[in-house]
């Protein structure tokens, strides 16, 4: 098995500036990928004969946002969203974490969802996972075959797992808060 650095050099060599960063010191080392290069990176990772990442464990959406301005001033990061892909290779028994860093709103216009290309064409598991991230965190997966809410009711307003989410006052006559 190759070392983390050798693997990073290899995909950097292959994809250049589509690989925007990495952290190999973390417990779960990760590689950051630009949204526009995500699908080709995923296809490469799945199809290389010595990697064969044939399983997508999960897709997570993370909202980095602190509503309290006092606490936000002390933080060492700016508000943003991350979509995290946990991959596994069953034949070679290795795992990998990919991260895509996004703005909280596309072009900083509140209400305009940030976009990531869908990887449901690479792993079909991604279909429902992406619907869940869309439903709860509010990320638009472009190219997804059927991007609807999966858990909340279809007429629900807002994305409940965003840190600045506020419950509606009323939903179909039922008090919300």
């Amino acid at each position: 098995m190759m070392s983390g650095q050798a693997f990073l050099d290899r995909i950097k060599n292959e994809f250049g500036d589509k690989i925007t960063g990495a952290n190999l010191a973390a417990i779960d080392p990760w590689v950051e990928v630009a949204p526009e290069g995500l699908v080709e990176v995923c296809k490469y990772l799945r199809d290389q004969p010595d990697l064969r990442f044939n399983m997508l464990n999960c897709i997570s959406g993370v909202d980095y946002f602190e509503p309290d301005p006092k606490k936000a001033a002390k933080l060492d990061w700016q508000p943003h969203l991350e979509v995290v892909y946990h991959l596994s290779s069953l034949p070679t028994k290795i795992s990998l974490v990919l991260k895509v860093i996004l703005p909280r709103w596309k072009g900083d216009r509140p209400g305009d969802l940030p976009e990531v290309p869908s990887v449901s064409g690479v792993w079909s598991t991604a279909d429902w996972h992406e619907r869940e991230v869309f439903d709860l965190v509010g990320v638009r997966f472009s190219g997804h075959p059927d991007l609807r809410r999966i858990l909340c009711p279809e007429d629900w307003v807002g994305y409940p797992l965003r840190k600045d989410y506020e419950m509606p006052l009323e939903y179909h006559g039922i008090r919300g808060r």
Partner: protein, 201 residues
Amino acid sequence: MTQPWIEGRFEENVITTTVEQAINWARQSSIWPMTFGLACCAIEMMAAGASRFDMDRFGAGAFRASPRQADLMIVAGTVTYKMGSRLRRLYNQMPNPKFVIAMGACTVGGGPYFKYGYHVVKGVDLVVPVDVYVPGCPPRPEALLEGLMRIQDKIKGHKIARLAGANVGIKVDDELPVPHHSGYVEAPEEVSVYDHQKITG
């Protein structure tokens, strides 16, 4: 040698009662609940229906799968906003007189999801009118049986119209049920009672 309860005490006879008492007695002894388990409280509700606790002793063991055959809705578990509209529709489909027990913390007031949950209705009384609240997380089957007995008390307080135009078959809401038993149970000497089974107070 114990005396039989009623056998051999009467000959062919006439029983005098009031229509109100007879109807209320019949109603309170055959409350058919609707199967409405939504979460973990449903396990306790099933336990209350099974042989150890045996809801059938109160005439409430016939869990119906259709709201049209049910008198009582035991809402057992977390009601989400998505479920809320279904719950209300099922309640509307039940025939009168109908009763609702809110079983468990989630149905009573949102429970652990009250503050940060985005999906749980903060109490099922925001969706349907509730007659009896049974708190607990989840409540023990005895607690559910107690709630059932309070429903029976409520039925006992029904007034059946004696005058034309009076409320016929309508729930009288200002009639509060009066607890009819002291909570004191006499245990036979030879049956050993464990500490946790002793009834205090």
